[in-house]
Symmetry: D2
Subunit: 301 residues, 4 copies
């Protein structure tokens, strides 16, 4: 018998994830706060619910993919929210990036309603969501994860169980701190190279071939060379994650000087107006500092 | 006719590089300041010179692989040094990591003696030197590079010409700044994860699969998990490179906040006595801060 | 007619502040969570209440001097707390260092009970509390401040009205960020000087006479020279304030790289076990790094 | 008998310093690379030499106040320089801010010519130079310092002997690192305050009254409030000193994370074009970040 899924949150990530669930044959009811996001999914075979409660009421599994702690808390715990509508036994999976504290709060609240809860944030950005190759970092009970594994398998290629509730969030924040630091390292090294007279493409070729290589270099080299700051993962969302990561490290009393330096730089990028561009737009700070494009001089290209 | 090569500097990197030259059929005379380093190479077929001048005098190509600016300058420009002994037309290649300013100084001095000079630092660490898979970042004249390319091909798999003299050094310093930053990002993210209760191996699995992945994560995950700080590339040498990179960015007036934060942390690692360990031993600072091993508790494993 | 005051929180700061109120002739009822702190005050003429509610019930003015947001919120809004017991018209003054968000929350809640609320954190540390020379940074309505000004005058020498509710907290967090940064600057400059062979007392003499001078240098030079880390203001409390300041700057989207670097260093100081020492104990990190006392070698003194 | 003085370098600091020497009755010969700077001094009674050698030849004491290491080295050691012209027994005093290494190099070279050398950089900026209230940080032999003390007394109010040659430079670099850090702390705290809605003048009043007070706050509050970035001490010179301080701490292996963060920010200020403004123009970076003047909105004033 097919699992019935409620999918809430149809943004850059949520829409293609829901589409993959429909394509794999699940029965999917979708809902999004801003209307008009469900048309393509309905054509694929999804149904659109009139409210979160309506979406959730008959579901075996509820998936949420939302922007931040406040939105997630409201949708789970607010009036007419998920926890008030879900039947006992429903599996609740949040794929948003939230604070570990909220993940634990929701797990406890879900247990109070007889439901299970997994914090299961993802890495892979939009390309991974589209191609169904996301990596899931899961916190919560192992048994529950086993029960919903087929659902996650439909959206991703790697599912790592990291421990009890909140563990997925901890992993995601640590992971994204590294992403931010690696991207800044790339931008900074490139700035030195370009300012020192090198052709950026040549330098990035060396970086990618050498021990400085990284996913950041794979994903962002062409964007840097072409000055293409279209969004894979927005600077604003990265800044949000760095703030959560910084607050987490504060709570754990872990000194994180690289993360803090990164947070300040992304904050400067946000202040400069790059919120809705790709996170690598933080490199534009360096371009202003060195008074030179990091992508070379196109007219000479 | 076989090219005759003088190879000076038989340390961790130099010895296996010279060995690859011998194996590929070049006639190689070696010299090292500290004696007793040439035995294995002599068995392979190299000859040992009694002085740099003796090694250089009959060579078509001179290669140096040394530790820092002072040593390199002394060996090229000091009494009985390379420049005083090399015949006009000799190709001089320095594979050390030196300041761009010294690279330009040596190129000019070499030209004064009718010799060519390339700054050609490498990435790949000891494994790359052994397996002959180094990446060369070359500064100097393109014609000269073409002439010695077979020599570099014997030691590496990728040769990138970055521009005039000094360009190889600029690329290497920018590259290594990125390496340092990526390694610190890895250590820091892992510290947050471990402090937040995650199993380090699980977290590193996610990092390597996700967009936080890097050569640093590939090269150092096992070392972190096993607390194995044996040298691939020593912390002291990385700190030296970061200081050169910081001085370079000072000279170019490029703000490099991530590099500076990294320099401070490697400096703290050096002060803590980790100079002769692998650069990832900088992670031990975090272990002390969080009061916990980053590799998990082996007795519970 | 004498104002009747309830004073809650008899710690390092609260006790001498309450004592000054008694000495100036106010009728003062005190309460502290941990018992046994009121003996000296009772000898001076204060009365000890059995609960916060009992202390507050007949008071014209309520003053709280507590350790952090959670404690303050609980005492105001918890069961049997201040807001449930205070008569309409009571003036509530919080001298703790709390987040601006909590200050605004409490002001709104107080208004709902017909009471006024001022966030009025102080600077001056224990010596200022004892001598009645504190500086008050006040947020809230100007009229209310005028009404309670005589009470604040009894404890301090400077009262600055900074704006609506929360403004006192904003000022305090900005102020303390500067304090932390100045103290670290002092420690770091001294570390370079000592490591460079200078006598610390000579260097600090220059600092205090020159444009590097600061209250930090005035307050901490002797402590550094003598290795005296007895508490004027504890490292743990400063770290708490830096975390609040960092969260505030996050919320305001202000890049604060110096504050973030400072937070990381105080965090490392906390991790090293200096929480209950004076904030300048952060200098011990540098002592370990340079392998040398910052106070000179006493045996040679 | 009056001491005869050669004064070389008539910039912002040098001119008023030389004027004070003339006014105190010393016989002063001056020289400056760029001509036309000596007119006012000649009116006071100084003589203008046609070359450094001419100025130095008959002098008992030579004073230099120049911009950086290269200029100082050239003037002392270059052809026709001070060391080639000075008579044995001449006292050489450099008031520039130079690297400790150069100070030691010049002291050794001077000794080779039978001359004494003091590195004696100053703090006090232009106002201190004009009013003769500079603080001198002196490295070199105590006997030599005693001999020239009357000369320094004519220009300053405090003379601190810090140790052997180079010690004055070490003290100056440590001192100026603190100055830079304190100024950034002030700018950053003010940015948080202004961004949080406070009136800047009110906040700075609290800072100056509280434990966040500093010479930086005394010297720069009005400049910040009025957006007056006229030079007391230029941003470019501060950046130069921070680079020397960073190189010094590198050489001493002292981790200096605050100094490095400061260097990056001043570098960004320099890149933004503030080189020839006062060092507190670094605050304009924050103004851009927060999109708001740090001095309040004058049109509303």
């Amino acid at each position: 018998m097919t699992l019935s899924i409620a999918f809430i949150g149809l943004g850059t990530m949520g829409s293609p994830m829901a589409a993959n669930l429909v394509r794999k044959g699940f029965s999917v009811a979708v809902w999004n706060r801003t209307p008009g996001k469900a048309e393509d999914l309905k054509e694929l075979g999804a149904t659109e619910a009139g409210s979160p409660a309506e979406a959730v009421r008959e579901a075996d599994v509820v998936i949420t993919m939302l922007s931040n702690d406040d939105v997630v808390r409201e949708l789970y715990r607010g009036e007419g929210g998920i926890l008030s509508a879900a039947r006992p036994g429903t599996a609740l999976i949040d794929n948003s990036t939230i604070s570990p504290a909220l993940a634990r709060e929701l797990a406890a609240a879900a247990a109070g309603e007889g439901c299970g809860f997994l914090d299961a944030p993802v890495t892979g950005s939009k390309p991974g969501a589209v191609s169904g190759t996301l990596v899931f970092m899961v916190g919560g009970e192992a048994e529950l994860l086993e029960r919903v594994r087929p659902v996650l398998d439909a959206m991703g290629t790697k599912i790592v169980h990291l421990g009890p509730s909140g563990s997925g969030s901890v992993a995601k924040l640590g992971h994204n701190a590294i992403v931010a630091i690696n991207n800044l390292g790339l931008a900074e090294g490139l700035s030195v190279a370009v300012s020192g007279g090198l052709q950026p493409a040549k330098f990035l070729e060396v970086v990618r071939a050498g021990s400085a290589g990284s996913k950041a270099a794979e994903l962002k080299s062409d964007k840097l060379l072409q000055g293409d700051y279209s969004v894979q993962f927005s600077l604003a969302l990265m800044l949000k994650d760095l703030r959560l990561a910084s607050a987490l490290s504060d709570g754990l009393n872990v000194p994180t000087p690289m993360l803090e330096a990164a947070k300040s730089l992304f904050q400067a990028g946000s202040a400069a107006g790059y919120d809705q561009e790709d996170l690598i737009a933080v490199a534009k700070l360096y371009e202003q500092w060195i008074g030179q494009s990091l992508g070379g001089t196109p007219d000479k290209g």
